[in-house]
Symmetry: C2
Subunit: 189 residues, 2 copies
DNA sequence: GTCTATATCTCGATAGAC
DNA sequence: GTCTATCGAGATATAGAC
């Protein structure tokens, strides 16, 4: 049920998704919805976002751990997302961005979860950048920049139905991080 | 009425905004809504997005025309948006991004307008980059990158309620464009 | 715990007088 | 053109049997 909700929220947003749709898609019994989520739709939303946010964070980790440096990891991540978008008819974008924008000024509980998720991704990104030798004061702004570009590129790609924003942005982000890495003194690698 | 609609769509999205709210806020007569927009909410949405999208495009033009080069224009634009966000309790972000994500896979008429708006901004950006001497094949991907980063930074800033994503990203985008400008042969300026 | 039925509300859209 | 009243659909949430 959480997975079905997360998937629908990502595609059509929070307001655009009906509870019946979630229980229908998830094959879960309608009667048990308010047993597990006494807080109703909002509580389900919070739980679904937390779950998909953490899953996405682990995906980031996986890509960075498998790559030789953060720059190639980013290039791969952008390219991977472009593939995922194209293969899903431009539906599988960021699991929280749509809800984040919808609720930034309306439903604070949901906005807060989205903020927590974004910050967990930022912390993960900054950690990998730091571990590659980039100094702490630079790593966090660089993570902010990288995630910003990624989120915006997904927004553009979904809207104009082309992977071009993701691929073009991915190249430049990777090159920016690459330049930062080249400023790292040799001993620290 | 169009302005009231555009404002509400930007803050709380398309699905999250009721028609009554729009006519209420706009002080317009309810009876005339379906006279001017026989297509109902969707037609009003299309018109509102087109209008605010074009207004925003002219704002971009204004900033670029007033700045000495595209790099400083971008820095100013990010900084201006950060101010606008902070001054509006993080409500006045991008006028189309929220609706774009909501409708990318649900309501194609709205998605298409958002795509048109984004593309008009991209064309404007690419034109200014070209006019500054950056070759055509580079200007468009650079515009894609710049707009992507901007859109994502707004998303992050609104969600975590901090201007940090915008300021950090603005600096880096400006420096990337600055580097591209330095590759321009002197004669072409 | 889960089901069915339903209460209550709000939405978008329409009808018809003026 | 604009107003008032209202329709019908679909939403969230609840009640009460099992």
């Amino acid at each position: 049920m959480l997975d079905a909700g997360a998937d629908l929220f990502r595609r059509q947003g929070y307001e655009g998704t009906a509870l019946k749709e979630i229980v229908g898609e998830g094959g879960a019994p309608w009667g048990s919805l308010y047993h597990f989520f006494p807080g109703g739709k909002q509580e389900l939303g919070v739980a679904a976002l937390r779950r998909s946010g953490e899953r996405y964070r682990r995906l980031i980790e996986l890509v960075f751990e498998g790559a030789e440096d953060p720059s190639t990891a980013l290039r791969q991540f952008f390219s991977l997302s472009a593939q995922a978008l194209e293969g899903s008819d431009y539906a599988d974008g960021c699991p929280v961005a749509t809800v984040a924008l919808e609720t930034a000024n309306t439903t604070d509980a949901l906005r807060q979860v989205c903020a927590e998720v974004f910050e967990s991704w930022l912390a993960t990104l900054a950690r990998f950048l730091s571990e590659a030798g980039i100094e702490a004061g630079v790593a966090y702004p660089l993570a902010l920049f990288g995630l910003s570009t990624f989120e915006g590129a997904i927004t553009l790609s979904r809207t104009i139905r082309s992977t071009e924003p993701l691929t073009a942005s991915g190249e430049i982000v990777a090159s920016v991080v690459d330049a930062a890495l080249r400023e790292v003194p040799e001993e620290s690698t």
